[in-house]
Protein backbone atom coordinates (compact mmCIF):
# COMPACT_ATOMS: atom_id res chain seq x y z
CA UNK A 1 0.00 0.00 0.00
CA UNK A 2 2.74 2.34 1.02
CA UNK A 3 4.46 2.04 -2.29
CA UNK A 4 1.37 3.13 -4.14
CA UNK A 5 0.36 6.18 -2.25
CA UNK A 6 2.40 9.21 -3.07
CA UNK A 7 1.55 11.80 -0.55
CA UNK A 8 1.49 15.08 -2.41
CA UNK A 9 1.45 17.23 0.65
CA UNK A 10 3.86 15.65 3.04
CA UNK A 11 6.27 13.46 1.19
CA UNK A 12 7.67 16.22 -0.98
CA UNK A 13 11.13 16.86 0.30
CA UNK A 14 12.03 13.35 1.23
CA UNK A 15 14.53 12.34 -1.35
CA UNK A 16 17.49 14.22 -0.04
CA UNK A 17 19.53 11.73 1.91
CA UNK A 18 23.18 12.31 2.61
CA UNK A 19 24.78 9.27 1.03
CA UNK A 20 28.17 10.67 0.17
CA UNK A 21 29.70 10.40 3.60
CA UNK A 22 28.43 6.89 4.07
CA UNK A 23 29.92 5.64 0.86
CA UNK A 24 33.37 6.89 1.65
CA UNK A 25 33.54 5.02 4.90
CA UNK A 26 31.84 1.86 3.83
CA UNK A 27 34.81 -0.31 2.81
CA UNK A 28 36.53 0.39 6.11
CA UNK A 29 33.35 -0.46 7.93
CA UNK A 30 32.88 -3.69 6.11
CA UNK A 31 36.41 -4.81 6.94
CA UNK A 32 35.78 -3.95 10.58
CA UNK A 33 32.49 -5.78 10.35
CA UNK A 34 34.16 -8.89 8.98
CA UNK A 35 36.95 -8.79 11.53
CA UNK A 36 34.58 -8.38 14.45
CA UNK A 37 32.37 -11.13 13.15
CA UNK A 38 35.32 -13.45 12.87
CA UNK A 39 36.42 -12.63 16.41
CA UNK A 40 32.94 -13.30 17.74
CA UNK A 41 32.69 -16.61 15.92
CA UNK A 42 36.15 -17.74 17.01
CA UNK A 43 35.45 -16.83 20.62
CA UNK A 44 32.17 -18.71 20.42
CA UNK A 45 33.74 -21.79 18.83
CA UNK A 46 36.67 -21.96 21.25
CA UNK A 47 34.57 -21.00 24.24
CA UNK A 48 32.15 -23.85 23.68
CA UNK A 49 35.04 -26.22 22.97
CA UNK A 50 36.73 -25.36 26.24
CA UNK A 51 33.91 -24.77 28.67
CA UNK A 52 30.72 -25.91 27.02
CA UNK A 53 29.06 -29.25 26.69
CA UNK A 54 29.43 -31.18 23.49
CA UNK A 55 25.82 -30.76 22.37
CA UNK A 56 25.96 -26.99 22.52
CA UNK A 57 25.81 -25.10 19.26
CA UNK A 58 29.03 -23.91 17.67
CA UNK A 59 29.47 -21.80 14.54
CA UNK A 60 30.98 -24.69 12.60
CA UNK A 61 28.24 -27.00 13.82
CA UNK A 62 25.57 -24.53 12.78
CA UNK A 63 27.05 -24.05 9.34
CA UNK A 64 27.33 -27.76 8.71
CA UNK A 65 23.79 -28.20 9.95
CA UNK A 66 22.38 -25.67 7.48
CA UNK A 67 22.10 -27.92 4.38
CA UNK A 68 21.03 -30.81 6.54
CA UNK A 69 18.15 -28.90 8.08
CA UNK A 70 17.11 -27.03 4.97
CA UNK A 71 17.07 -29.98 2.59
CA UNK A 72 16.95 -33.21 4.57
CA UNK A 73 14.58 -32.35 7.38
CA UNK A 74 11.12 -33.49 6.30
CA UNK A 75 9.43 -31.64 9.14
CA UNK A 76 10.95 -28.24 8.62
CA UNK A 77 9.13 -26.78 5.63
CA UNK A 78 5.68 -28.03 6.57
CA UNK A 79 6.33 -26.51 10.00
CA UNK A 80 7.45 -23.22 8.51
CA UNK A 81 4.41 -23.18 6.29
CA UNK A 82 2.01 -23.98 9.13
CA UNK A 83 3.48 -21.42 11.49
CA UNK A 84 3.72 -18.53 9.09
CA UNK A 85 0.31 -19.23 7.63
CA UNK A 86 -1.07 -18.70 11.13
CA UNK A 87 1.05 -15.57 11.62
CA UNK A 88 0.01 -13.98 8.36
CA UNK A 89 -3.63 -14.82 8.67
CA UNK A 90 -3.58 -13.43 12.19
CA UNK A 91 -1.77 -10.31 11.10
CA UNK A 92 -4.19 -9.63 8.27
CA UNK A 93 -7.15 -9.94 10.59
CA UNK A 94 -5.44 -7.79 13.21
CA UNK A 95 -4.53 -5.09 10.74
CA UNK A 96 -8.09 -4.84 9.48
CA UNK A 97 -9.77 -4.97 12.88
CA UNK A 98 -7.11 -2.99 14.71
CA UNK A 99 -7.00 -0.21 12.13
CA UNK A 100 -10.76 0.05 12.02
CA UNK A 101 -10.94 0.17 15.81
CA UNK A 102 -8.19 2.75 16.03
CA UNK A 103 -9.69 4.98 13.36
CA UNK A 104 -13.07 4.92 15.05
CA UNK A 105 -11.37 5.70 18.33
CA UNK A 106 -9.55 8.59 16.72
CA UNK A 107 -12.78 9.98 15.29
CA UNK A 108 -15.21 9.53 18.14
CA UNK A 109 -13.96 10.51 21.57
CA UNK A 110 -16.76 8.68 23.28
CA UNK A 111 -15.80 5.39 21.65
CA UNK A 112 -12.16 6.06 22.44
CA UNK A 113 -12.99 6.55 26.11
CA UNK A 114 -15.12 3.45 26.16
CA UNK A 115 -12.61 1.19 24.43
CA UNK A 116 -9.37 2.62 25.84
CA UNK A 117 -9.35 0.51 29.02
CA UNK A 118 -9.80 -2.64 26.99
CA UNK A 119 -7.21 -1.84 24.37
CA UNK A 120 -4.68 -0.74 26.99
CA UNK A 121 -5.51 -3.63 29.25
CA UNK A 122 -5.11 -6.23 26.53
CA UNK A 123 -1.94 -4.54 25.43
CA UNK A 124 -0.47 -4.73 28.91
CA UNK A 125 -1.46 -8.30 29.71
CA UNK A 126 1.36 -10.73 28.99
CA UNK A 127 0.27 -13.10 26.22
CA UNK A 128 1.37 -16.12 28.17
CA UNK A 129 -1.08 -15.27 30.92
CA UNK A 130 -3.97 -15.30 28.48
CA UNK A 131 -2.99 -18.54 26.81
CA UNK A 132 -4.45 -20.80 29.53
CA UNK A 133 -7.82 -19.15 29.02
CA UNK A 134 -7.59 -19.45 25.25
CA UNK A 135 -6.70 -23.12 25.39
CA UNK A 136 -9.51 -23.64 27.85
CA UNK A 137 -11.93 -22.24 25.29
CA UNK A 138 -10.51 -23.46 22.02
CA UNK A 139 -8.54 -26.53 23.00
CA UNK A 140 -4.92 -27.34 22.32
CA UNK A 141 -4.80 -26.75 18.58
CA UNK A 142 -4.01 -24.31 15.82
CA UNK A 143 -7.05 -22.15 16.40
CA UNK A 144 -5.72 -21.36 19.87
CA UNK A 145 -2.45 -20.30 18.28
CA UNK A 146 -4.34 -18.15 15.83
CA UNK A 147 -6.35 -16.58 18.64
CA UNK A 148 -3.21 -15.72 20.57
CA UNK A 149 -1.65 -14.12 17.50
CA UNK A 150 -4.71 -11.97 17.02
CA UNK A 151 -4.82 -11.11 20.71
CA UNK A 152 -1.19 -10.03 20.51
CA UNK A 153 -1.40 -8.08 17.29
CA UNK A 154 -4.64 -6.12 17.54
CA UNK A 155 -3.75 -3.73 20.39
CA UNK A 156 -0.61 -2.24 18.80
CA UNK A 157 -2.47 -1.78 15.50
CA UNK A 158 -5.39 -0.12 17.25
CA UNK A 159 -3.16 2.19 19.25
CA UNK A 160 -1.17 3.12 16.16
CA UNK A 161 -4.24 3.91 14.10
CA UNK A 162 -5.66 5.83 17.03
CA UNK A 163 -2.50 7.92 17.37
CA UNK A 164 -2.24 8.36 13.64
CA UNK A 165 -5.73 9.64 13.18
CA UNK A 166 -5.39 12.08 16.03
CA UNK A 167 -2.19 13.71 14.91
CA UNK A 168 -3.06 14.98 11.48
CA UNK A 169 -1.77 18.54 11.39
CA UNK A 170 -4.69 20.94 11.37
CA UNK A 171 -2.86 23.20 8.98
CA UNK A 172 -3.04 20.66 6.16
CA UNK A 173 -6.73 20.17 6.69
CA UNK A 174 -7.32 23.89 6.68
CA UNK A 175 -5.35 24.39 3.50
CA UNK A 176 -7.21 21.56 1.82
CA UNK A 177 -10.50 22.98 2.92
CA UNK A 178 -9.75 26.47 1.75
CA UNK A 179 -8.81 25.13 -1.65
CA UNK A 180 -12.15 23.42 -1.78
CA UNK A 181 -11.02 19.83 -1.39
CA UNK A 182 -13.75 17.28 -1.18
CA UNK A 183 -13.96 15.02 1.82
CA UNK A 184 -12.69 12.09 -0.16
CA UNK A 185 -9.67 14.08 -1.32
CA UNK A 186 -8.94 15.05 2.24
CA UNK A 187 -8.91 11.41 3.23
CA UNK A 188 -6.96 10.06 0.34
CA UNK A 189 -4.60 13.00 0.10
CA UNK A 190 -4.02 13.86 3.72
CA UNK A 191 -5.49 11.65 6.37
CA UNK A 192 -4.35 8.29 5.11
CA UNK A 193 -0.84 9.35 4.09
CA UNK A 194 -0.47 11.21 7.37
CA UNK A 195 -1.39 8.23 9.47
CA UNK A 196 0.45 5.69 7.32
CA UNK A 197 3.75 6.03 9.17
CA UNK A 198 1.89 5.37 12.38
CA UNK A 199 0.20 2.36 10.87
CA UNK A 200 3.52 1.06 9.60
CA UNK A 201 5.14 1.54 12.99
CA UNK A 202 2.17 -0.19 14.55
CA UNK A 203 2.45 -3.03 12.08
CA UNK A 204 6.07 -3.44 12.99
CA UNK A 205 5.18 -3.80 16.66
CA UNK A 206 2.27 -6.05 15.79
CA UNK A 207 4.34 -8.37 13.63
CA UNK A 208 6.98 -8.71 16.32
CA UNK A 209 4.35 -9.56 18.87
CA UNK A 210 2.70 -11.96 16.47
CA UNK A 211 5.94 -13.86 15.99
CA UNK A 212 6.43 -14.06 19.75
CA UNK A 213 2.85 -15.14 20.20
CA UNK A 214 3.11 -17.96 17.71
CA UNK A 215 6.24 -19.30 19.35
CA UNK A 216 4.79 -19.05 22.84
CA UNK A 217 1.58 -20.71 21.77
CA UNK A 218 3.35 -23.57 20.05
CA UNK A 219 5.70 -24.11 22.97
CA UNK A 220 2.88 -24.26 25.46
CA UNK A 221 0.28 -26.04 23.42
CA UNK A 222 2.84 -28.64 22.52
CA UNK A 223 0.97 -30.32 19.72
CA UNK A 224 1.02 -29.82 15.98
CA UNK A 225 3.97 -29.53 13.65
CA UNK A 226 4.70 -25.80 13.63
CA UNK A 227 8.15 -24.30 13.47
CA UNK A 228 8.07 -23.39 17.17
CA UNK A 229 7.36 -26.94 18.18
CA UNK A 230 10.06 -28.12 15.85
CA UNK A 231 12.59 -25.79 17.50
CA UNK A 232 11.48 -26.94 20.93
CA UNK A 233 11.90 -30.60 20.03
CA UNK A 234 15.27 -30.08 18.39
CA UNK A 235 16.55 -28.16 21.38
CA UNK A 236 15.23 -30.67 23.87
CA UNK A 237 16.80 -33.55 21.96
CA UNK A 238 20.11 -31.71 22.25
CA UNK A 239 20.28 -30.91 18.53
CA UNK A 240 21.19 -27.32 19.24
CA UNK A 241 22.90 -26.67 15.91
CA UNK A 242 19.81 -27.71 14.01
CA UNK A 243 17.58 -25.74 16.37
CA UNK A 244 19.59 -22.60 15.72
CA UNK A 245 19.19 -23.03 11.98
CA UNK A 246 15.44 -23.32 12.51
CA UNK A 247 15.44 -20.21 14.70
CA UNK A 248 17.29 -18.36 11.97
CA UNK A 249 14.28 -18.80 9.72
CA UNK A 250 12.17 -17.18 12.41
CA UNK A 251 14.72 -14.39 12.71
CA UNK A 252 14.83 -13.83 8.98
CA UNK A 253 11.10 -13.33 8.85
CA UNK A 254 11.32 -11.01 11.84
CA UNK A 255 14.11 -9.06 10.19
CA UNK A 256 12.25 -8.87 6.93
CA UNK A 257 9.23 -7.42 8.67
CA UNK A 258 11.13 -5.07 10.97
CA UNK A 259 13.80 -3.78 8.61
CA UNK A 260 11.59 -3.72 5.56
CA UNK A 261 9.17 -1.49 7.36
CA UNK A 262 11.92 0.61 8.88
CA UNK A 263 13.26 1.19 5.36
CA UNK A 264 9.89 2.26 4.08
CA UNK A 265 9.49 4.59 7.04
CA UNK A 266 12.92 6.13 6.63
CA UNK A 267 12.65 6.59 2.93
CA UNK A 268 9.10 7.82 2.65
CA UNK A 269 8.54 9.53 5.94
CA UNK A 270 11.82 10.95 7.17
CA UNK A 271 9.93 13.47 9.22
CA UNK A 272 8.38 10.69 11.22
CA UNK A 273 10.27 9.77 14.34
CA UNK A 274 9.40 6.61 16.09
CA UNK A 275 8.41 7.04 19.71
Amino acid sequence: MATVIQSPVIGEDTKTTPTVKKKRRSWKNSIAWLATTLVILIIWQIGVGLFGKDYMATPIGVITAVPDVLFNDPKLWPGVWETFAVVFRGLILSVVVGTALGLIMGRVTFVADALAPYVNGFYATPMIAVLPIITLWLGFNTSATFALVVFAAIPPMAVAAWDGSRTIPVRYLEVAKSFGARRRDVWVGIAIPASLPYLLAGFRLASGRALSAVVIAEFLIGTGDGLGIHIMRLAQNFNHNEAIVAIMILTLVGLFLAIGIERILRRRYPWFRKS
Binding site: K28, A32, W33, A35, T36, I40, T99, A100, L103, R107, T109, F110, V111, A112, D113, A114, L115, A116, P117, Y118, N120, G121, F122, A124, T125, P126, I128, A129, P132, I133, T135, L136, W137, S165, R166, T167, I168, V170, E174, K177, R183, V186, W187, A191, I192, G208, S212, V215, F219, M232, A235, Q236, H240, A243, I247, L250, T251, G254, L255, S275
Partner: protein, 276 residues
Protein backbone atom coordinates in the same frame (compact mmCIF):
# COMPACT_ATOMS: atom_id res chain seq x y z
CA UNK B 1 -10.96 -0.67 4.40
CA UNK B 2 -11.22 2.48 6.39
CA UNK B 3 -13.24 4.54 4.02
CA UNK B 4 -16.58 3.94 5.68
CA UNK B 5 -15.42 5.19 9.04
CA UNK B 6 -13.47 7.82 7.39
CA UNK B 7 -15.83 9.41 4.92
CA UNK B 8 -18.39 10.41 7.42
CA UNK B 9 -16.11 12.73 9.16
CA UNK B 10 -14.89 16.25 9.04
CA UNK B 11 -11.46 17.49 10.10
CA UNK B 12 -9.85 15.62 12.89
CA UNK B 13 -8.76 17.82 15.65
CA UNK B 14 -11.95 19.78 15.87
CA UNK B 15 -13.05 20.41 19.41
CA UNK B 16 -10.08 18.60 20.81
CA UNK B 17 -6.99 20.19 22.23
CA UNK B 18 -4.29 20.23 19.61
CA UNK B 19 -1.66 17.70 20.66
CA UNK B 20 1.06 20.15 19.82
CA UNK B 21 -0.32 22.68 22.26
CA UNK B 22 2.01 23.69 25.01
CA UNK B 23 1.93 21.95 28.34
CA UNK B 24 0.62 25.03 30.02
CA UNK B 25 -2.49 25.07 27.89
CA UNK B 26 -3.15 21.43 28.59
CA UNK B 27 -2.87 21.96 32.29
CA UNK B 28 -5.31 24.83 32.23
CA UNK B 29 -8.01 22.88 30.49
CA UNK B 30 -10.39 21.30 33.00
CA UNK B 31 -10.26 17.55 33.16
CA UNK B 32 -12.81 16.12 30.78
CA UNK B 33 -15.31 13.86 32.44
CA UNK B 34 -15.07 10.60 30.61
CA UNK B 35 -18.58 9.33 30.34
CA UNK B 36 -17.41 6.99 27.63
CA UNK B 37 -15.00 5.33 30.01
CA UNK B 38 -17.71 4.64 32.57
CA UNK B 39 -20.18 3.49 29.96
CA UNK B 40 -17.58 1.25 28.38
CA UNK B 41 -16.59 -0.33 31.65
CA UNK B 42 -20.21 -0.72 32.68
CA UNK B 43 -21.22 -2.40 29.43
CA UNK B 44 -18.22 -4.68 29.65
CA UNK B 45 -19.05 -5.64 33.20
CA UNK B 46 -22.70 -6.31 32.41
CA UNK B 47 -21.85 -8.44 29.38
CA UNK B 48 -19.29 -10.37 31.40
CA UNK B 49 -21.73 -11.02 34.21
CA UNK B 50 -24.63 -12.03 31.97
CA UNK B 51 -22.52 -14.17 29.66
CA UNK B 52 -21.05 -15.99 32.62
CA UNK B 53 -24.41 -16.46 34.27
CA UNK B 54 -26.59 -17.52 31.36
CA UNK B 55 -24.54 -18.38 28.33
CA UNK B 56 -21.30 -20.21 29.01
CA UNK B 57 -20.59 -23.42 30.82
CA UNK B 58 -19.18 -22.50 34.23
CA UNK B 59 -16.02 -24.44 33.55
CA UNK B 60 -15.16 -22.17 30.62
CA UNK B 61 -16.24 -18.81 31.87
CA UNK B 62 -17.20 -17.33 35.21
CA UNK B 63 -19.39 -14.28 35.75
CA UNK B 64 -17.69 -11.13 36.93
CA UNK B 65 -19.09 -11.35 40.46
CA UNK B 66 -17.50 -14.73 41.05
CA UNK B 67 -14.23 -13.56 39.61
CA UNK B 68 -14.25 -10.58 41.94
CA UNK B 69 -14.92 -12.93 44.81
CA UNK B 70 -11.99 -15.05 43.72
CA UNK B 71 -9.90 -11.91 43.51
CA UNK B 72 -10.72 -11.14 47.13
CA UNK B 73 -9.78 -14.64 48.17
CA UNK B 74 -6.56 -14.27 46.24
CA UNK B 75 -5.70 -11.02 47.97
CA UNK B 76 -6.28 -12.49 51.40
CA UNK B 77 -4.25 -15.62 50.84
CA UNK B 78 -0.55 -15.67 51.69
CA UNK B 79 0.04 -18.00 48.72
CA UNK B 80 -0.65 -15.15 46.34
CA UNK B 81 1.55 -12.64 48.11
CA UNK B 82 4.40 -15.11 48.33
CA UNK B 83 4.07 -15.83 44.63
CA UNK B 84 4.02 -12.12 43.88
CA UNK B 85 7.12 -11.53 45.99
CA UNK B 86 8.90 -14.37 44.25
CA UNK B 87 8.07 -13.03 40.81
CA UNK B 88 9.01 -9.50 41.81
CA UNK B 89 12.36 -10.68 43.05
CA UNK B 90 13.03 -12.46 39.78
CA UNK B 91 11.96 -9.37 37.89
CA UNK B 92 14.26 -7.07 39.81
CA UNK B 93 17.26 -9.35 39.38
CA UNK B 94 16.71 -9.89 35.67
CA UNK B 95 15.88 -6.25 35.07
CA UNK B 96 19.03 -4.94 36.66
CA UNK B 97 21.30 -7.42 34.92
CA UNK B 98 19.68 -6.72 31.56
CA UNK B 99 19.68 -2.95 31.96
CA UNK B 100 23.24 -2.84 33.20
CA UNK B 101 24.60 -4.93 30.35
CA UNK B 102 22.39 -3.17 27.81
CA UNK B 103 23.62 0.27 28.86
CA UNK B 104 27.27 -0.69 28.85
CA UNK B 105 27.21 -2.57 25.58
CA UNK B 106 25.02 0.11 24.02
CA UNK B 107 27.48 2.87 24.91
CA UNK B 108 30.42 0.80 23.70
CA UNK B 109 28.74 -0.02 20.40
CA UNK B 110 27.55 3.52 19.86
CA UNK B 111 30.84 5.15 20.77
CA UNK B 112 33.39 2.82 19.22
CA UNK B 113 32.11 2.97 15.68
CA UNK B 114 34.49 0.46 14.17
CA UNK B 115 33.44 -2.50 16.28
CA UNK B 116 30.02 -1.03 16.73
CA UNK B 117 28.73 -1.58 13.25
CA UNK B 118 29.37 -5.32 13.46
CA UNK B 119 28.07 -5.80 16.97
CA UNK B 120 25.04 -3.67 16.25
CA UNK B 121 23.97 -5.89 13.39
CA UNK B 122 24.06 -8.90 15.69
CA UNK B 123 22.17 -7.10 18.39
CA UNK B 124 19.51 -6.20 15.84
CA UNK B 125 19.30 -9.76 14.59
CA UNK B 126 18.88 -11.13 18.08
CA UNK B 127 16.43 -8.38 18.93
CA UNK B 128 13.99 -9.45 16.24
CA UNK B 129 14.25 -13.10 17.26
CA UNK B 130 11.44 -13.83 19.67
CA UNK B 131 13.19 -14.12 23.04
CA UNK B 132 10.89 -16.99 23.95
CA UNK B 133 12.76 -19.09 21.39
CA UNK B 134 15.78 -18.96 23.69
CA UNK B 135 13.98 -20.75 26.48
CA UNK B 136 14.50 -24.33 25.21
CA UNK B 137 18.24 -23.69 24.95
CA UNK B 138 18.48 -22.25 28.40
CA UNK B 139 16.44 -25.15 29.66
CA UNK B 140 18.58 -27.84 28.10
CA UNK B 141 21.89 -26.19 28.96
CA UNK B 142 21.24 -24.81 32.40
CA UNK B 143 18.29 -26.88 33.51
CA UNK B 144 15.98 -25.75 36.25
CA UNK B 145 16.63 -23.33 39.04
CA UNK B 146 16.70 -19.65 39.68
CA UNK B 147 19.46 -18.32 37.46
CA UNK B 148 18.19 -19.70 34.16
CA UNK B 149 15.02 -17.74 34.79
CA UNK B 150 16.94 -14.60 35.68
CA UNK B 151 18.94 -14.99 32.46
CA UNK B 152 15.75 -15.21 30.43
CA UNK B 153 14.34 -12.09 32.07
CA UNK B 154 17.54 -10.16 31.48
CA UNK B 155 17.55 -11.35 27.86
CA UNK B 156 14.12 -9.79 27.46
CA UNK B 157 15.28 -6.53 29.06
CA UNK B 158 18.69 -6.29 27.44
CA UNK B 159 17.79 -5.67 23.82
CA UNK B 160 15.49 -2.65 23.95
CA UNK B 161 17.84 -0.97 26.42
CA UNK B 162 20.88 -1.72 24.30
CA UNK B 163 19.34 -0.58 21.04
CA UNK B 164 17.97 2.69 22.34
CA UNK B 165 21.26 3.37 24.07
CA UNK B 166 23.09 2.90 20.78
CA UNK B 167 20.71 5.36 19.16
CA UNK B 168 21.20 7.75 22.05
CA UNK B 169 24.97 7.66 21.83
CA UNK B 170 24.79 8.22 18.09
CA UNK B 171 22.51 11.18 18.64
CA UNK B 172 24.92 13.00 20.91
CA UNK B 173 25.40 16.39 19.36
CA UNK B 174 28.75 16.43 17.55
CA UNK B 175 29.13 20.05 18.47
CA UNK B 176 29.16 19.19 22.16
CA UNK B 177 31.74 16.47 21.53
CA UNK B 178 33.92 18.85 19.59
CA UNK B 179 33.73 21.49 22.27
CA UNK B 180 34.62 18.91 24.90
CA UNK B 181 37.54 17.67 22.86
CA UNK B 182 38.86 21.11 22.03
CA UNK B 183 38.85 22.01 25.69
CA UNK B 184 41.05 19.03 26.29
CA UNK B 185 38.54 16.70 27.85
CA UNK B 186 39.65 13.08 28.04
CA UNK B 187 37.50 10.19 26.89
CA UNK B 188 36.38 9.31 30.44
CA UNK B 189 35.48 12.89 31.22
CA UNK B 190 33.65 13.21 27.89
CA UNK B 191 31.57 10.17 28.73
CA UNK B 192 30.71 11.49 32.15
CA UNK B 193 29.80 15.02 31.12
CA UNK B 194 28.58 14.69 27.56
CA UNK B 195 27.86 11.17 26.37
CA UNK B 196 26.01 9.75 29.34
CA UNK B 197 23.83 12.80 30.11
CA UNK B 198 22.67 13.09 26.53
CA UNK B 199 22.26 9.34 26.09
CA UNK B 200 20.24 8.83 29.23
CA UNK B 201 16.95 10.21 27.89
CA UNK B 202 17.14 7.81 24.95
CA UNK B 203 18.13 4.95 27.17
CA UNK B 204 15.12 5.78 29.32
CA UNK B 205 12.71 4.95 26.54
CA UNK B 206 14.54 1.65 26.15
CA UNK B 207 14.32 1.08 29.88
CA UNK B 208 10.62 1.79 29.74
CA UNK B 209 10.23 -0.92 27.09
CA UNK B 210 12.58 -3.11 29.10
CA UNK B 211 10.37 -2.83 32.16
CA UNK B 212 7.35 -3.98 30.19
CA UNK B 213 9.22 -6.76 28.41
CA UNK B 214 10.89 -7.87 31.62
CA UNK B 215 7.47 -8.45 33.10
CA UNK B 216 6.58 -10.61 30.09
CA UNK B 217 9.88 -12.40 30.56
CA UNK B 218 9.11 -13.15 34.19
CA UNK B 219 5.82 -14.76 33.30
CA UNK B 220 7.37 -16.68 30.40
CA UNK B 221 10.26 -17.94 32.49
CA UNK B 222 8.04 -18.93 35.36
CA UNK B 223 5.65 -20.66 33.04
CA UNK B 224 8.10 -22.53 30.82
CA UNK B 225 11.11 -23.08 33.07
CA UNK B 226 11.10 -23.95 36.74
CA UNK B 227 7.54 -23.02 37.66
CA UNK B 228 7.37 -20.47 40.44
CA UNK B 229 5.64 -17.29 41.50
CA UNK B 230 2.71 -16.01 39.52
CA UNK B 231 3.49 -18.27 36.58
CA UNK B 232 3.08 -21.31 38.81
CA UNK B 233 -0.15 -19.89 40.15
CA UNK B 234 -1.54 -19.46 36.63
CA UNK B 235 -0.45 -22.93 35.67
CA UNK B 236 -2.01 -24.51 38.72
CA UNK B 237 -5.34 -22.79 38.24
CA UNK B 238 -5.54 -23.70 34.58
CA UNK B 239 -4.65 -27.34 35.22
CA UNK B 240 -7.16 -27.64 38.02
CA UNK B 241 -9.84 -25.90 35.93
CA UNK B 242 -10.38 -23.31 38.66
CA UNK B 243 -11.68 -20.87 36.11
CA UNK B 244 -12.63 -18.14 38.57
CA UNK B 245 -9.15 -18.14 40.09
CA UNK B 246 -7.60 -18.24 36.64
CA UNK B 247 -9.53 -15.19 35.54
CA UNK B 248 -8.68 -13.41 38.76
CA UNK B 249 -4.99 -14.17 38.25
CA UNK B 250 -5.12 -12.90 34.68
CA UNK B 251 -6.77 -9.70 35.89
CA UNK B 252 -3.99 -9.31 38.38
CA UNK B 253 -1.53 -9.74 35.52
CA UNK B 254 -3.31 -7.07 33.51
CA UNK B 255 -3.10 -4.61 36.35
CA UNK B 256 0.50 -5.52 37.03
CA UNK B 257 1.25 -4.97 33.36
CA UNK B 258 -0.51 -1.62 33.35
CA UNK B 259 1.25 -0.45 36.49
CA UNK B 260 4.60 -1.66 35.21
CA UNK B 261 4.03 0.38 32.06
CA UNK B 262 2.95 3.38 34.11
CA UNK B 263 6.07 3.13 36.24
CA UNK B 264 8.18 2.91 33.12
CA UNK B 265 6.52 5.96 31.65
CA UNK B 266 6.99 7.87 34.90
CA UNK B 267 10.65 6.97 35.03
CA UNK B 268 11.10 8.02 31.43
CA UNK B 269 9.41 11.36 32.02
CA UNK B 270 11.29 11.96 35.22
CA UNK B 271 14.70 11.44 33.65
CA UNK B 272 14.05 12.57 30.14
CA UNK B 273 12.95 16.11 30.82
CA UNK B 274 15.77 17.59 28.84
CA UNK B 275 15.08 15.63 25.73
CA UNK B 276 13.57 17.70 22.96
Amino acid sequence: MSSSTVDSHAPTTKGKPNPSDSKRAQKKAPRRIRFGLMVGLLIGAVIWELAGRFYFEPIFFKPLSEVILALFNLFTSPVFWNALAESLQLFVAGFFIGTFLGLILGIVIGRITLIGSALESYVTVLYVTPPIAMIPFVLSILGFGYWPKAIIVSWFVFFPVCITTIEGVRAVSPRLLEVARSFGSGEARTWKDVVIPSTLPFAMSGIRQGVALGFVGVVAAEFLLDASGIGLLLRTYSRLYQTDNLFAAVIVMTFLGLSVMAIGRWVEKRFATWRQ
